[in-house]
Amino acid sequence: MKCAAPIDAALLGDYWLGALAGPEEEAVELHLFDCDDCGRRLREVVALAEGVRKIAREGSLRMVVGDVFLERVAAEGLRVRQYAPPAGGGVECTVTAEDDFLIGRLAADTRGAKRVDLCICDARGVEQMRLADIPVSEAGEVVYQESMTFAKASPSMKMIARLVGFDDAGVERVLGEYTFNHTRSLPGPGAW
C-alpha cells in the first residue's frame, strides 16, 4: 500500500547509520513496523550502502580519502600502496597484483586557499582531469586514491598531480606539483 507520509530516503539513511536522536529513531521505527512502502525504500538505501561499500573496497574510484578510511581498509587485510613525493619532486612507483589501494600523499601549504583543486596531468603537464574543491587534512595533506583498475591496466608512464588553490578573489595559484614515474611491473604491455 502506498504510504501517505513517506519517510525521505536520506532520513532512512540516517536511521540505518544510527545517526538519529532517540525520539526521532523511535518514530521512524514505529512507522517502519506499519509501512512496507517505507520498508522497501529503506531496503533500497541499504542496497545502495552495500553497493558503495563494495565499490569502496575495490579501490576503483579516483577520490580523496582520509587516514581513518585507510586504517579501516588495512584492518580488513587489504593492501595499501602509498607514495609521498615532495612538492616539486617526483617518485618512482608501481603497482603489483597483490595491491588493493594506490595512494598518493600530497603535502602542500594550503594556508589562504579558500578552495583546493587537484589536477591530474599528463607527462607534459597538460591537465587531463580535475577534482574540484577537494578535502584537505588539517595538516595540509591531500590523500589521493588513484583508481586501482586504471593503475593496474596502465603502461609505464609519467603522471603529474598538481594542487591548485583559490584565494578570496578567486585567483588560482599552484600549491605544488608531484610527479609519479610509474613503471609497469604486471605482465603484459598494459593499455586502457
Binding site: A10, G13, A49, R53, V64
Partner: protein, 181 residues
C-alpha cells in the same frame, strides 16, 4: 484465508483460535519488518533471521493467550518485542532451540525479503559523477559507517554540514540509479 484482514482483525482471529493460517499470515506480514529491524540493530542477516523467528513466536504466543489488550497496536507490540529480544540477544540469551522444539520448524521457514539488486557499474559511474566532497562523505559514511566527527574533521566543516552533504549525495545517487528520491 482473507489476506485483507487488518492488524486488529488478525490479532482477534488468532486470539479466537484462528489456527495456523492466521498465524502464517501474521508471520508473512511481520517477518520482513522484524528482519529489517534486526539488520539495522544486529548488522547480520543470520542474526536478523533468528530475531524474526524469536519475535514472531513470542508474538503468536502472546496473541494466542490474549495478552495484547489493544489489538490495533500490533505494530507497537512487535516493535517492543524486537527491542526486548535484541537486548536479550546482546546479553547472550539464546532461547531459539527451546522455541523451535515447542513450535516446530515448519512454520518458521525463512521468508527472504526481496533485496533490490544494484547495477554496480552504473553505481560506479554515479559515484564518479558526484562532487568530490559528496563522494568522500558517501564512501566514508557507508564504508566505515562514520556519520560525524571524523568526516567533518577531514572536510573542515560541521557535522551538520556533513549530514546535509550526505543527504544530497543519497538523493543524487538514487536519482542517477533511476529510483525515486
Amino acid at each position: 484465508m482473507d489476506i485483507e484482514l487488518n492488524d486488529a482483525e488478525l490479532v482477534l482471529q488468532i486470539g479466537a483460535g484462528g489456527g495456523r493460517e492466521a498465524e502464517a499470515e501474521l508471520f508473512r506480514r511481520m517477518a520482513p519488518r522484524v528482519r529489517l529491524y534486526g539488520l539495522r540493530h544486529l548488522r547480520d542477516e543470520y542474526a536478523a533471521e533468528d530475531l524474526a523467528q524469536q519475535v514472531l513466536i513470542t508474538t503468536i504466543e502472546a496473541l494466542r493467550a490474549g495478552r495484547l489488550r489493544e489489538p490495533e497496536k500490533l505494530a507497537s507490540f512487535v516493535l517492543g518485542a524486537c527491542r526486548m529480544t535484541v537486548l536479550d540477544l546482546r546479553r547472550g540469551v539464546q532461547r531459539k532451540e527451546r522455541l523451535l522444539e515447542q513450535y516446530g520448524a515448519d512454520m518458521l521457514a525463512p521468508v527472504q525479503p526481496s533485496s533490490p539488486r544494484l547495477d554496480q557499474e552504473q553505481l560506479t559511474r554515479c559515484m564518479q559523477g558526484l562532487k568530490e566532497r559528496e563522494r568522500t562523505v558517501v564512501v566514508m559514511t557507508f564504508y566505515d559507517e562514520q556519520t560525524g566527527a571524523d568526516v567533518a574533521r577531514l572536510l573542515g566543516v560541521s557535522e551538520a554540514n556533513v549530514r546535509v552533504i550526505r543527504h544530497r549525495a543519497i538523493h543524487q545517487l538514487r536519482a542517477c540509479m533511476g529510483v525515486a528520491a
